[in-house]
Amino acid sequence: MIAAFIHPGLLWGLGLVSVPIIIHLITRRRYKIIEWAAMEFLLEAEKKSRRRIRIENLILLATRMALIGLIPLALARPMAPALGLGWLAGAFRSEEHIIAIDDSLSMAHIEAGSSSVDRARAAASATLERVSGRSARGTVTIVRSSRPDEPLRRGSYVDQERLPTLLREIEGIDPTHTRLAPDRLAASLADLISSDPRAGRTVVIASDFRRTDWESAPDAIRDAFQRLAGGDESAVRLLFLDVGPRDRENLAVTEVALSRRVPVAGVPADIAITVTNTGTAPVRAVRTNLRVGDAEIPGPAIDEIPAGDARTVRIAHTFNEPGPIFVEGKIDGDRLAADDSRIAAVEVADAIRVLLVDGELSLEPFASETDFLAFALDPTGEIASGIKTERMTEDRLGAVDLTAYDMVVLANLYSVASRDAERLVAYVRSGGGLAIFLGDQVDADLANRTLAALLPAAIAERVSRPAAGEAFHLNPSLDHPALRQLRGDAAALLARVSVETFARLAPAEDARVLIRITDPDASPAVVERTIDAGRVVIVATSADREWSDWPRHPSYLVFLQDLVPHLGRPRGTGRNVIAGTPIAWPLDIATYLPQARLRTPRFPDDPEKEIRAEAEGSAFRLHILDTRAGGRYELVLAPRAGGSRVERIAVGADPRESDLEPTTEARLREILAGVPFVYVRDTAGLGVRDGGTWELSGLLMGLFIAVAIFELFLAWTIGKRGGS
């Protein structure tokens, strides 16, 4: 009969029912001793009343045990399913409805004039009205999937007085750019329930039940829902209300990216817009648009995007000014307008700073190891490369601050000190780029040992072209950003390069070969490896003309100018986050004041908000906790020297939210095996459960009073009978 206890921990008090027994046993062991002469009469009295006394004592003992047991039982607040004789119980009824509304991005899809979230809100409102009409003691908890740990309303009584306020709050629930995490939602709901256990709950989850959400982590989802259901259908009734669209056709801008890792002001860059068709039918004539800052740039049209496929268009653009800027790729709006544009925040550099470490410096022109490199990276002329080089000898490597550079080139170094090797490792891991050119000074064994953590390939023996043999050339081996201008017919440019000498390279397992040598072994000429945020390239030949004539060929310049932006430290790290991810923006308080003004995507409709930097160890960070709304976020920093600087952060939706393919009831039952739930598509199927629960505390306290009176009466009666 008792379904649950609100405070089950207090049931330990039931152990106290043994106290009367213990007292009885102790009392029996403690007695006075009297020598008695008139024993005949005492025995006669005892014989006559023995049975009666025993029964009276048992009843009294049982009554006292019941009295003690009723207290912890009542304090534990037992709940029971609704009784037909509820009026007799005298306890109030307590039922709760928990309404969880999926406010992920996909819920903004509009079909037949209403969005999925509109339908979810309507269902929630209808439920509230039913609850308010049935019982003044019904309560409701409203939860949004984007913030399941922070219910909009918790345990609110639903009566006619409160109903309008609750309905307004539900109407205020709008879709965010977040993605639904069903396991996290179920876990939060389970926590809500466990903190206030009682029987008689209905949990309604109004969602579009998309496959990418509900089938992404089936084990975690099943475990979380099993915990939510608690194994007792009478306690928690689970209702899945599918408010998703029947039409799943959708186009979405799923990526906006730059071709260069480091966009440089004044240097053309390609901006790639990827459009994905998640529907079941091909889409034709897709128009694209680009917005850079405030400038609108029409993009090329996409002839056709097959179902389930994606197409990327590239739009060339030259950023005029260095600094952070928003780049937005757009397509024409469809039924899910929220994913028809995507914003990226880009930091445009004034130049890519490259440190050239020369292992064989010479005063003669183009005799140093890095002369050709410097010329190729920053050639003279009207068109800037966007690369600024600085050269030094290897003996000064230890004194330089590597973080001031986007890329470091080691050209024909004999050795790198261990300490400098460690610094280089840290530099690369943090995003720096490293290129290693070999030469006759390089000690392969030493390099292999010292730079083992960095080398994309181990350096083996040196190979020279036989005097009478065929010349070695270069051959691009894969499609790579650094080789984008050397593809197709342009690959012949590399074929003209003659390589006299090269070192055999043994690529690491996670490395890839960009260019090969046309020796019989097709030895690697250029090998790349990604190490954390950074990239390393090793070139099997020298940077100068000693081992090859590559520096004399135009492909040298072309390759290097595309290699540097590819290797260079990426700008804008942390500027692009997925909606729902908190942002922790590092702030140099030596340069800036420790507070900033935050502009959210709704600015200027929503005013700026001041936020203060928080210390985390020796660093300071500005925290933006709520990023459920996608779009442009700006932090207006205040430099100590005066003025202001605007940092730009783009928050975008998870591209998986654009896939509207729904899961099925059968698949849901398969994933949630053992979890009983009701699946409905119609709000009419949402019923307010009959009954609910009764809290029995009042009944138990009444019983306690009755038993107490009975105990007093019984004790008095027994005492009176014992008197004369």
Partner: protein, 309 residues
């Protein structure tokens, strides 16, 4: 008047260790007139007349009779009637119980000693028999001055220890008292119901004047106990661990029936019955015996007077 009560207060008497002294205190207090008694000034009892013969003490001539009848008669007193009083004192183990200052035995012994002293002062022969399931000790009835000491010594040296058997013992005692006398029984009479009747019959058949002083402890009459109690039975009765409050009503009913039965048995046999509890003042015991004795005296005088007429 207020001082007289102390002579009979058991709490005061308990402080007097020696029985003889205790008895003297009771009797002195009684006789001294401090105690208001209908028998105030009670002294040696006048029994009847006989004709004067030369040599009789002229102090005993009844001058009223001479004036009336013009004949000389001498007053005869009890001592001249050879009245013998036999005290039967129950010295069984049950008499050892006492909830107050004196146990039943001590109270009964004090009463017995007091009676003996009083009777001895009045020139009555008095003796005592202590019994339990057999005669434990005996002092023959005499009028000698030393009999009180003997009685006291006998009672003090006979601690109550054994079971009770009234009928066989009393019958044997009755056989040793050939002449009619006063039998004063001090006992709690805790014995089988038919045993008491048979026991009394032994004396009644021999036309003794029997006075039963039913000595009980106040706690035995009221049963005021509370709390879990182990009652250890005296005289080999089994023990009982019980809640006294639960048994009180039944016990009082049972002992009430016993007391009624005992009293009826005495009434049936024309035996004077007095119930005394150990919390009462001792003068009650003396008053009871003396009242009975006085009643008998008057009955005898009347019969003798009628014979002479």
């Amino acid at each position: 008047m207020a001082n007289s009560a102390k002579f009979f207060d058991p709490k005061v008497l308990a402080k007097i260790g020696r029985l003889e002294l205790r008895a003297r205190m009771v009797v002195e207090g009684f006789i001294s007139g401090l105690h208001k008694s209908p028998y105030h000034g009670y002294s040696v009892e006048f029994a009847d007349h006989r004709e004067y013969t030369p040599g009789d003490d002229p102090r005993h001539i009844d001058w009223k009779v001479l004036a009336r009848a013009d004949r000389v008669y001498i007053k005869r007193y009890e001592e001249e009637t050879n009245l013998r009083s036999h005290v039967l004192l129950d010295s069984s183990e049950s008499m050892r119980y006492g909830s107050g200052a004196l146990s039943k035995y001590e109270y009964a012994a004090t009463a017995a000693a007091s009676l003996a002293y009083l009777l001895n002062r009045q020139q009555d022969a008095v003796g005592i028999t202590l019994f339990d399931d057999e005669v434990r000790a005996r002092v023959p009835a005499t009028t000698g001055a030393g009999v009180l000491g003997d009685i006291a010594t006998t009672m003090e040296s006979t601690p109550p220890a054994r079971k009770t058997a009234l009928a066989p013992v009393w019958r044997r005692v009755a056989e040793t008292i050939p002449r009619r006398g006063v039998i004063i029984i001090l006992s709690d009479l805790f014995t089988a119901s038919d045993d008491f009747g048979h026991a009394l019959a032994g004396f009644c058949e021999r036309h003794h004047e029997v006075v039963v002083l039913h000595i009980l402890d106040e706690a035995e009459l009221r049963f005021p106990f509370e709390g879990h109690t182990l009652f250890k039975g005296l005289e080999e009765w089994p023990d009982l661990l019980a809640d006294p409050q639960a048994l009180r009503r039944g016990y009082l009913e049972a002992i009430g029936r016993f007391l009624d039965r005992t009293e009826r048995e005495c009434a049936h046999r024309n035996v004077e019955y007095f119930r005394i509890h150990t919390g009462e003042a001792l003068d009650g015991a003396l008053t009871a015996v003396l009242a009975a004795r006085s009643h008998r005296q008057r009955a005898r005088s009347h019969r003798a007077w009628r014979r002479r007429r």
